[in-house]
């Protein structure tokens, strides 16, 4: 079992009379990529800010890299990388200048294992800003600005990197570059990554484990595949026979396909089994939470409220 990097027990956060976090438990091990999903206002950013040491919690135990973030040292801070949702300052600084300047703060905390800071030109190349290295920040496009945010987050070669919606504003190619960058940080430098996103395809590609935060608690915790299996039983099966295309929704797709071949044998072509997407799963988890209904793996996707006027449970 790898070393625990983040350990949180019964984390609570109260603003006025409202509990934003109501007993969050989570654990992250070294080298893991964790994605925090949840509707707006679910407490994702609050959770991350507490883990980063930027926000005092109302209650609970929090350990990050072995220390309590609320009372951690400068040395501890040097081990953390942060990419916030938006940066708008340093308008007149140039890209290389700013990265070199920020990097210097990390120099006293370098080790043989983790030389700090990173070589600035290498870093600029790595985030794809070589052509803009001498540009003023105010002249960068939104996507370039975001690449710079990521560079700032990793200039100190962090052990633990927090990314708050890192790819907002990225085009598909920039997004792909960013995913490669994260994979490199994790695979080659043993970095642990915690990110929030609303892009479920991104969560599926990047995360070893997905945590769904709703109503101030973690309501699901597992790989994209595990979560998908948790909420949905029925899969869609498509095939063609004699030039005609068919579709079926099967509780047991494997058994259905077996019977299809027993019945039609070689006539079956273009076979496809499509399980629920992470998006389907996420929507159902959040919906279950909002309506207070307990998880019911057999219920598929029909929402009683939605079909009430159209034949009730006729489809079940």
């Amino acid at each position: 079992m790898a070393e625990t990097v983040i350990a949180v027990r019964d984390l609570r956060m109260r603003y006025g009379s409202r509990d934003v976090l109501d007993g969050v438990d989570l654990e992250v091990r070294r080298g893991e990529v964790i994605t925090l999903l949840g509707p707006n206002g679910a407490g994702k950013t609050t959770t991350i800010e507490i883990l980063e040491g930027f926000r005092e919690r109302s209650g609970g135990d929090v350990r990050v890299l072995g220390e309590d973030p609320a009372r951690a040292s400068e040395e501890w801070r040097a081990g953390i990388g942060i990419v916030l949702q938006s940066w708008r300052d340093h308008r007149r600084w140039r890209v290389r200048e700013l990265l070199a300047h920020l990097g210097e703060y990390y120099a006293p905390y370098g080790t043989a294992e983790r030389p700090r800071p990173r070589d600035v030109d290498e870093l600029i190349d790595r985030v794809g800003l070589t052509d803009s290295a001498d540009q003023m920040l105010m002249r960068l496009s939104g996507g370039q600005r975001r690449r710079l945010d990521v560079a700032i987050g990793i200039v100190g070669r962090p052990e633990l990197l927090f990314l708050d919606e890192p790819t907002a504003g990225f085009d598909p190619e920039a997004r792909r570059d960013f995913h490669d960058l994260v994979h490199g940080l994790v695979d080659l430098e043993d970095t642990t990554v915690v990110l929030t996103t609303h892009d479920l395809a991104e969560a599926e590609k990047l995360a070893d484990r997905i945590l769904v935060l709703a109503g101030g608690r973690i309501v699901a915790d597992g790989s994209a595949d595990a979560l998908t299996r948790q909420v949905r039983a029925r899969a869609e099966v498509r095939w063609s026979r004699d030039g005609q295309r068919f579709v079926h929704a099967a509780d047991d797709a494997t058994a259905f396909v077996r019977s299809l071949f027993v019945q039609h044998g070689d006539e079956i072509a273009d076979l496809e089994v499509r399980r629920a997407s992470l998006e389907d799963t996420y929507m159902q988890l959040v919906h279950q939470h909002e309506t207070g209904s307990s998880p019911d793996p057999g219920s598929g996707f029909a929402r009683p409220a939605d079909v009430a006027g159209t034949g009730g449970e006729a489809t079940r």
Partner: protein, 81 residues
Amino acid sequence: MAERASAGGEVVHNRIAMLRAERRISRRDLAEALDVHYQTVGYLERGEYSPSLHLALRIAEYFEVPLEVVFSLREFPRLGT
């Protein structure tokens, strides 16, 4: 009203789109009730895909009509003029 003539396949006409519009049910609601993907409802309505017998029965049950109200081997008569 959808139909399709495929190479060698039989044509099945359906009135899923009409029933859905008449009852003001969204494609997404129907997809969720049937446990199929959103796009699949479109494929079914356009006749690009035929439902399995079981799925066809569930569609009819969902609309609370007999199967032959939704599916037919012959083209459905146009409503109105």
